[in-house]
Symmetry: C2
Subunit: 345 residues, 2 copies
């Protein structure tokens, strides 16, 4: 059956089914995460490099990872927008990851945003936001702070914003955190964008599933109708792998990270020092060398590795790329404005 | 007498006189203020413009005027140095003038500075520094905060740093403040670098002044020796005009500003709006148009006017320059990295 006829048929049928179709279409193979590395530097902002941070764009709504001094300037430079930012994830409370918060919130406030914003971070993030940031900024919108979440968080687009929701089969994305090993309490993050099994019309029809419960079943819910129990597998194809993105900075390369980043499509990882000989510096300041980050990528069997958070002592981190690629081939060196789209495979 | 002979003579005489000579040399006609406009934007930092701030370099020691997000990046870009910064003057506590403080202090801290730093600002600056900034930064040096000084402050180089000293004839520079008219308590600043009258050797000798008190008299102090009172005018020439620099941002153009900036060699003044038609916006947001700033410069009979703190809605403030020059000819449009040296005339 041609698609436009299928669509027409559903419109005629009822509104529920139209919504189902629309959702199914949006949730189809076009779903992706658009990433923009806003900055790639560590410790201090310089004229050459913004401080490490990342924008994750999901259906036009944004997650920001870290916010050092100048992050709002990078957001402007790389056109990521301010009003559509729904979630800010802070890895730790060192200045190069937080000093941009008052300015960013003020700029968002000036953009006339009224929708609430969620800030997630490690221990003491609530105190930071409530006692330090909010008294000196203009934030005419609700701010919900989640401190050190001790379980995975479900994220979905609700009322046109990306919000934390109760984890369920219909949750669109899962956010996980891990305690890293740095000189301050520090969280690593991973995002898993779920991929629903294919909805197979022939299978649904073959199993005699009434159309009005197709959507519920597609979203993983079982449904009883007229005394018969309908299960998701009556309309769905095989399980499909979603998209996994991991973000690890700042930390030593501890073993716990390996299962946490396992099978990521992309691992964005700090590589503060390019030179293998800087290993003692890396240990002293609780950072990683390129080689250590590459080792994590290899052990975690990730698809790609992007290095960031470069020491300002490295003029050109690309000079040290071999120190990573000899351990993990698919390594890229981050730079301000780097972009990538992660799609379902 | 050739200079080198003069110098030799003094070295032979005694150490006091050598110091006198050295000081006199340094305090001579080479004394100047080297200015670097670090940024020229208002409200929000953008990729095109840093936020308004200024470095005043006096004998290699620095005064920073305002510190918005990114000011430390501009300091790095324009090579003004961090360790030699002795005084930070804050005009008011709006974000575009203060959000760069935690990062700047941390960067100075990382430069291993141990000498104390002075921060001067309006009402509530103490609370800001003590309760908001210091808890989240690394400042392993003393910070002295001066809130709303109600009289002029004397500045001199002491122990290799520019410090507040008791106002006296030997004070090198005077810092004055004025309450401006903005939506938050806001201070305008002016700096007057004194110029000592010329020391006239022939006059000193003619008046029979003993050499060991030349220095004291040169610095404006009277001196009694062997029952005779020696006065400064016995060794000095006529009074000479020093260097006056005024810094006015953010404010409406109130009348009080005129006597405050009177006869400045340079007035650096906010000109948030270039277009005369934006006068209502200027009034609403308590800023000035180029024309209003130029009017102040004209009434205050300053030598030169530099406009800064441009609204981000102006892509190129130079387009509106005529709106200022038709009122005050010696107007320049500020830009990031603008430099000027103010010398004794």
């Amino acid at each position: 059956m041609p698609y436009y006829l299928f669509f027409y048929d559903y419109l005629l049928f009822n509104k529920l089914n139209w919504v189902y179709f629309k959702d199914n279409y949006i949730k189809g193979d076009d779903i992706m995460l658009n990433l923009t590395l806003l900055g790639s530097g560590g410790t201090m902002p310089t004229p050459e490099r913004f401080l490490s941070s990342l924008i994750i764009d999901y259906k036009g709504r944004k997650i920001l990872m870290d916010c050092g001094e100048g992050t709002q300037v990078a957001m402007r430079k790389f056109n990521t927008g301010f009003r559509t930012l729904d979630i800010i994830c802070i890895t730790h409370l060192h200045g190069d990851h937080i000093y941009g918060l008052p300015g960013l919130l003020a700029t968002i406030g000036n953009s006339n945003r009224t929708e609430p914003l969620t800030i997630i971070g490690p221990m003491h993030i609530k105190k930071l936001i409530e006692e330090i940031i909010l008294p000196i900024t203009y934030a005419p919108f609700g701010i919900y702070v989640v401190e050190s979440p001790n379980e995975d968080l479900g994220l979905s687009i609700i009322e046109e914003g990306l919000r934390i929701v109760e984890e369920s089969n219909s949750t669109e994305m899962t956010l996980s955190t891990i305690e890293l090993d740095h000189s301050a309490p520090c969280l690593g993050y991973s995002f898993y964008l779920k991929r629903h099994p294919k909805f197979i019309v022939e299978k649904a029809m073959g199993n005699g599933v009434p159309r009005e419960i197709w959507k519920a079943l597609q979203h993983g819910e079982s449904f009883e109708l007229n005394g018969r129990l309908y299960k998701p597998e009556m309309v769905l194809g095989d399980k499909r792998k979603g998209i996994k993105l991991s973000y690890i900075t700042d930390s030593r390369s501890i073993d716990n990270i390996v299962p946490f980043i396992k099978d990521s499509d992309l691992l964005i990882c700090e590589g503060t020092y390019g030179d293998d000989e800087d290993i003692q510096k890396a240990k002293a300041h609780m950072h990683m060398t390129f080689g250590e980050a590459a080792n994590l990528a290899r052990k975690g069997k990730v698809r790609d590795l992007l290095l960031t958070h470069f020491s300002q002592t490295m003029d050109d981190p690309r000079e040290y790329k071999d120190n990573a690629t000899k351990i993990f081939h698919n390594t890229a060196i981050g730079y301000d404005g780097w972009k990538k789209t992660l799609k379902y495979r």
